[in-house]
């Protein structure tokens, strides 16, 4: 990143990543100016803020690198909070980029203190040159020494990427308010003290909080977690809310808050509760791979080429599969973090994490426990009810309802809101009879 007012340079150091030409040590897939440097730097800092914060148990420190993806016509910066309960993404669209070819690839960027300082200093009149993936030294604006802190992405971040996109794919636009009203609404939210779970509904031109869910409402658990949006608020043109369909009896759900900026979009997605991280949501487990979807996913992954919007129809034609099978295959790729979901465009986008993800769901603790149960022969299926014996306890899983339920305490606490429990998973594996091959 270059601040050229005084001819000095700031570089975004990349730490190895995947591009369209295969894996490269220092990939470089964008070099050009940004149309609105103030807003872009505020947005980037907001993404970095989320990566550096824990909203749950905030005493613990956190410092992780945002992931950047070049998608041909846009750049996406993504991060999770340390508690994994907040996901932030800045999409810099073509209008926000001034010149320069956007290549394809994914890498992660170290937003360290000197870069943070340089971004904070950028004024509206300074041109800002962004170069993702330079070969030279990271920062040369300051005379002081540079502190490089490389933090590898932890497993729960990778699981978070997978979960967030599965959850987001059920989102729809629920409300849109103009910039001024959005600012007033967001600033009126309670941020201190014990705040009950809130729901937000459209009210005329603006939004209103309520204490109970209603059809069309978006859940807002822990309003303080939207703090990162404050950085860009005064440039906001509109605020858009996305969430899954809810009824008046719904438990808290995830929701996405998107601030429309000139040439950019900043989206913050919140988990259903402050104490819940996306990594443990278990929605990936709902779509546990069928052998067919796995084969399809292998085929589809070959056809992906860093599209900003994956066209399911096109892909179906190319692969010779039905659109349903392509969708199932994309969901499967999502579980490995290889595609993301953009609720604003209601479309998947291609992203390859610069790490060996393998099959993320294999590392899921619940799935591991479920395999152990199946391996120990703990499951007995009897008509509409299955019995799972685990140590001294016996759990009943009912198979008749729309959602399989269990009599364990974990299920009682979440009632399906965090995916199936290990007993339900074990029963499903037994019924399908493929569990042991999966290991």
């Amino acid at each position: 990143m270059t601040s050229t007012a005084d001819g000095s340079l700031v570089g975004l150091e990349t730490s190895g990543g995947r591009t369209a030409r295969g894996t490269q040590a220092h990939p470089r897939f964008f070099s050009g100016f940004l149309t609105d440097p103030r807003i872009a730097s505020a947005g980037l800092l907001a993404v970095a803020d989320v990566a550096a914060t824990r909203y749950y148990q905030p005493t613990l420190r956190n410092s992780l690198d945002p992931v950047v993806t070049g998608n041909g016509d846009r750049l996406r910066f993504e991060s999770f909070s340390g508690c994994c309960g907040v996901y932030a993404r800045l999409d810099v669209l073509r209008d926000g980029l001034d010149g320069g070819d956007i290549g394809h690839g994914t890498t992660n960027v170290d937003v360290n203190d000197p870069l943070r300082l340089a971004l904070s200093r950028i004024a509206a009149s300074d041109p800002l040159h962004l170069r993702v993936g330079p070969d030279e030294l990271a920062v040369t604006t300051l005379d002081g020494p540079l502190v490089e802190k490389k933090v590898p992405l932890p497993q729960r971040w990778l699981r978070g990427f997978a979960e967030a996109q599965v959850i987001a794919s059920a989102f729809e636009l629920r409300a849109e308010v103009p910039g001024g009203d959005a600012v007033r609404f967001l600033r009126s939210l309670p941020t201190r003290g014990r705040v009950a779970d809130l729901w937000v509904v459209p009210a005329g031109r603006t939004l209103r909080t309520t204490s109970r869910p209603a059809p069309g409402a978006v859940c807002l658990p822990g309003p303080a977690r939207l703090a990162a949006l404050e950085r860009v608020l005064r440039h906001a043109r509109a605020l858009r809310l996305y969430g899954p369909a809810v009824t008046s009896g719904s438990a808290p759900v995830a929701g996405a808050w998107e601030v429309a900026l000139p040439g950019m979009r900043l989206t913050v997605m919140l988990s259903p509760q402050v104490s819940r991280g996306f990594s443990g949501e278990g929605s990936v487990l709902e779509s546990l791979a069928t052998p067919e979807a796995e084969t399809d996913a292998d085929l589809i992954s070959v056809l992906l080429a860093w599209e900003p919007r994956i066209d399911v129809g096109d892909l179906a034609v190319q692969a010779g599969l039905t659109t349903e099978r392509v969708r199932a295959a994309l969901a499967q790729l999502g579980t490995a973090g290889r595609v993301g979901y953009d609720a604003a465009e209601a479309a998947y986008f291609h992203r390859e994490l610069p790490y060996r993800v393998g099959r993320t769901e294999l590392h899921n603790p619940r799935l591991r426990d479920a395999r152990a149960l199946v391996g120990a022969g703990a499951v007995t299926v009897d008509g509409d009810t299955a019995t799972v014996r685990s140590r001294d306890s016996v759990y009943l899983v009912n198979l008749s309802g729309k959602v399989m339920g269990c009599t364990c305490a974990w299920w009682a606490g979440h009632r399906g809101g965090r995916g199936p429990c290990k007993h339900v998973l074990a029963v499903r594996m037994t019924i399908r009879g493929d569990a042991t091959d999966d290991c």
Binding site: R61, D113, R116, L117, S120, R121, A123, A124, S125, G144, P145, V147, G180, R184, F185, R187, S188, P190, R192, G193, R194, V195, A196, L198, V201, A203, G204, R205, T206, L207, R208, T209, T210, S211, R212, A214, R231, R234, S248, G249, D384, T385, S393, V394, Y395, L396, V397, N398, S400, G401, G405, C406, T407, C408, A409, W411, A412, G413, R415
Partner: protein, 880 residues
């Protein structure tokens, strides 16, 4: 290997075995490079053979020393030392390395030692906290640097450690590292918090522990840093830049505060300030409020000292600063801009459009201040700037906008007719279906037992369904249900300790599996019969109703085995439809089964009395059942049902006194007061047809509440609004109590309830306001009552301006007299002007003239005048 070296080996191992640290140190120092590997292997073997209780023995320590001598590379030695340090720290935080460690190392090559020192210093970067790391290791680094003569490490961790241990001012002045290491340490996260903590401790403990040596005084860090810049060991510009950089970077308030006060202590000169104008502008725009305020102070100094701030820069920053939500900051900056504009050198065409950003501020007083500045310099701006100002005018509140459009001579925007934004009326929803399979019911029981509340007897909406599910499934297949319930582990039930054997769904499950015997179930709740509780307070009775119902179910589920319960709600409020109850009784009649008395009493309190032509049909159907319950229901349908009656200024329900069982019949009398929190959902669910009665009871409870309970009940107001029956005359007072008492958690519920009532046309907002001005909420720790201003602003923001105006119209006469004025009265008046002018309402407020006519320039008086002006003009407009 020569015999001599063999002997030497044996001597070293003997010294280790004997635990002779001195001898081990001496021998290990002379170890030959070629022998290190062999010695290390021998030591590892020796240590693994040691019994576990020998871990801290002299022999073990000697082995550690000999092992250190056996390390070939600095990296390996670092790992060995880190492990040694960790073992010591586990024992005690104050433990150090054995003194002989340095002896052992002293035989090595200086370059080797230098590398070791740097590697150990690098270990500090992994530690948590500022200047942390391992104490035993920390104490080795400096001697190693001295021994090796290597360059000082400059990694942040070491710099922080060096800073923490750098001693007094004299030591710092003498140390050659000061200029290099201090800035590195200060850049580290945690430095600010360390300095703040140290300096706070210094103030408290200086007398006792501080060094008295005048040449090397122990001083607070901030003072040391300032003095170092004065004597030149630390560059002044370096320190200032560093502080500004840390402020720009932001962080936790405690961390940032240090650098702010450090800047203050450095007494910045006009030159220092002028060279960093861009940074002050960015800080004023983006930083936290205290830092922004300090940065604005520097900008003001520049303007006052007539050292011009670049016009573009000021205009650019002002646009951001004036968009900030903090009123005080925006007002301060407007004063600054006013001053700048009064001087030459600041072109109004650039600055005035930026000032106009404040037209969009929420506070009317800020808007007015901004307009005054614009009006003063408007003549000097060019056409383009004027257009931009005119574009910002619609953001003003209507009363000010009218004035401004007149002054600017532009056409007033055509006002659209005002429409209040209110939520759609919410109706009760159908109650969720009862679980019908064994597995579903057992899942429900687990959820009830595992609920977050420690009170297993707690009632929730779900409890009703699950209780009914238990009855239905037990009727069908008791053996399977009992077997499944037997697989559960039941958590300890705290309520059972207070009132054995407990109550609720969990108790019924326990009776089914035989953990509790039927003979253990009491006839009436203890708190309703025992002397200390005989006050008959409403909370205890309502709670007793649930206890009695679950005990009745527990008795009958194993004996009569009813097919289902009569009182299970049809609607989310608890109401039961008339036809549903008749059908349920018909099924009982077919089975020749009597109804449970508590179950049937509750069903009667919940059943909607049919109205109109159907009524006779329902009476006939009930009577036609031929059972005593059928006859009673027919009577109930044909009578007046539940009619509250006023007795001694309190509402009572005489109709339940005669025919209902205990504790239902107690609801017929005046209810006593209780210390328990008001559980509105349970009240509504027990009496879902009596909104007005429940409102009256809540009011009486709320009004009598001496202890600040945070108005949690008020959060459930929407549920009360949805229930059946007339809302009654108390609702305005109930809403006023809720608005005045509801804490942060209950606020969305109160606002929702208020708007629902207004949308249904069931709330007189002016009366509600009058009550609001009379509510007296004591400020008792830890409960702080909410600011009414915040709640009303929230309601206004959603577009319900007429509602807020109504409430303020009612409330202001009670708040304006001297001695009764609340905090932020000026802002309340400003809100009143905004609401009235947006919805075009008018009215008169007693006492407003007295305030508006009094002398002074406080916001209260200014805003009172503004409100009076608006009301006079509005009245004129209406009459013309």
């Amino acid at each position: 290997m020569t015999a001599e070296r063999m002997d030497y080996h044996e001597a070293l191992l003997d010294a280790v075995r004997a635990g002779d640290l001195d001898l081990t140190g001496t021998l290990a120092r002379k170890l030959h490079d070629a022998d290190r590997k062999k010695i290390l292997a021998a030591i590892r073997k020796f240590v693994s053979a040691l019994p576990p209780d020998q871990a801290g023995s002299p022999a073990f320590t000697a082995a550690e020393l000999a092992g250190l001598a056996g390390q070939a590379t600095p990296a390996a030695a670092t790992q060995w030392l880190v492990a040694m340090g960790r073992r010591r720290q586990r024992h005690s935080w104050y433990s150090l390395m054995p003194a002989e460690s340095l002896d052992v190392l002293s035989g090595r090559d200086p370059a080797w030692l230098g590398e070791l020192a740097h590697l150990l210093a690098a270990e500090l970067d992994k530690g948590k906290g500022f200047g942390g790391g391992q104490r035993p290791i920390n104490h080795l680094i400096r001697p190693l640097i001295r021994m090796s003569g290597c360059a000082t490490p400059t990694n942040p961790g070491y710099a922080a450690l060096w800073m923490v241990n750098s001693g007094g001012l004299g030591d710092l002045r003498a140390a050659p590292e000061t200029a290099t290491l201090l800035p590195i340490a200060l850049e580290m996260e945690g430095a600010g918090a360390y300095i703040e903590g140290h300096d706070k401790g210094y103030v408290e403990g200086a007398e006792k522990h501080g060094s008295k040596d005048p040449a090397n005084p122990s001083l607070p860090w901030k003072e040391k840093l300032v003095r170092l810049t004065e004597s030149g060991e630390l560059g002044r510009a370096v320190l200032i830049d560093l502080c500004v950089g840390r402020l720009l970077r932001g962080g936790r308030p405690y961390e940032v505060r240090c650098f702010r006060s450090l800047l203050e202590s450095l007494r910045l000169t006009d030159d220092d300030i002028a060279t960093r104008a861009t940074d002050w502008a960015r800080l004023a725009a983006d930083a936290d409020a205290p830092t922004a305020s300090a940065a604005m102070g520097f900008l003001r100094r520049m303007v006052d000292a007539e050292r011009p701030v670049d016009g573009d820069l000021l205009a650019d920053a002002s646009r951001d600063i004036l968009a900030r939500p903090e009123k005080a900051l925006v007002r301060t900056h407007l004063v600054l801009l006013g001053r700048a504009l009064d001087q030459d050198g600041y072109p109004p065409s650039e600055l005035l459009p930026a000032v106009a950003v404040a037209f969009g501020h929420e506070d009317g007083a800020v808007q007015e201040q901004a307009w005054k500045i614009v009006a003063r310099h408007l003549a000097a701006v060019d056409a383009a700037a004027r257009t931009r100002i005119v574009e910002a005018v619609p953001a003003l509140t209507p009363d000010l906008r009218d004035k401004v459009t007149a002054d600017l001579g532009v056409a007033e925007p055509a006002d659209e007719p005002y429409r209040e934004t209110l939520p759609p009326i919410s109706s009760p929803v159908r109650a969720a279906a009862t679980p019908l399979t064994v597995a579903e019911v057992v899942q429900g029981v687990v959820a009830e037992c595992a609920a977050d509340s420690p009170d297993a007897a707690a009632w929730t909406e779900d409890s009703e369904r699950i209780l009914d599910g238990l009855v239905r499934v037990a009727h069908r297949d008791r053996a399977a249900l009992t077997e499944a319930l037997g697989t559960l582990t039941y958590p300890y039930d705290w309520t059972a300790q207070d009132e054995p054997p407990g109550a609720g769904v969990a108790l019924v499950a326990k009776v089914l599996v035989g953990k509790v015997g039927i003979d253990e179930l009491p006839a009436l709740p203890r708190r309703l019969t025992d002397p200390p509780y005989r006050a008959m307070d409403g909370e205890t009775i309502i709670r007793g109703v649930w206890q009695m119902r679950t005990w009745e179910v527990a008795r009958r589920i194993t004996t009569d085995m009813p097919p289902f319960l009569l009182a299970t709600p049809s609607w989310s409020t608890g109401a039961v439809d008339a036809d549903v109850l008749v059908d349920r009784l018909a099924a009982y009649a077919r089975l020749n089964l009597p109804a449970g008395s508590a179950d049937f009493d509750q069903a009667l309190l919940r059943v909607r009395i049919p109205q109109g032509p159907d009524r006779e049909q329902f009476v006939a159907a009930a009577a036609g059942l031929g059972t005593p319950e059928g006859a009673r229901l027919a009577d109930w349908f044909s009578g007046e049902g539940l009619q509250p009656v006023e007795e001694d200024d309190r509402l009572v329900l005489p109709v339940v006194r005669e025919t209902f069982t205990d504790p239902f019949r107690r609801l017929g009398d005046k209810l006593g007061w209780s210390y328990d929190a008001l559980e509105l959902p349970r009240w509504v669910s027990t009496l879902p047809l009596l909104r007005g009665y429940v409102a009256a009871q809540s009011l009486w409870r709320g009004a009598c509440s001496h202890h600040g309970e945070g108005g949690q009940w008020a959060g459930d107001l929407p549920l009360l609004v949805q229930a059946d029956g007339s809302i009654g005359p108390c609702i305005e007072a109930v809403v006023a109590e809720g608005l005045a008492r509801a804490g942060e958690a209950a606020r969305p519920g109160v606002v929702e309830g208020l708007l629902q009532l207004v949308a249904r046309g069931e709330l007189d907002t002016v009366r509600c306001g009058a009550h609001l001005s009379q509510v007296n909420v004591p400020r008792l720790r830890p409960f702080t009552p909410p600011e009414v201003l915040d709640v009303l602003s929230e309601v206004a923001r959603t577009g319900a301006y007429a509602t807020v105006w109504g409430i303020l119209l009612g409330a202001l006469p009670g708040l304006l007299p001297e001695g009764r004025r609340p905090r932020q009265l000026g802002a309340l008046l400003s809100l009143a002007v905004e609401c009235a002018s947006r919805c075009g309402e008018t009215g008169s407020i007693t006492g407003l003239d007295a305030v508006a006519d009094s002398k002074g320039s406080s916001q209260t008086i200014k805003q009172a005048r503004r409100l009076r002006d608006y009301l006079t003009r509005a009245a004129e407009r209406v009459s013309s």
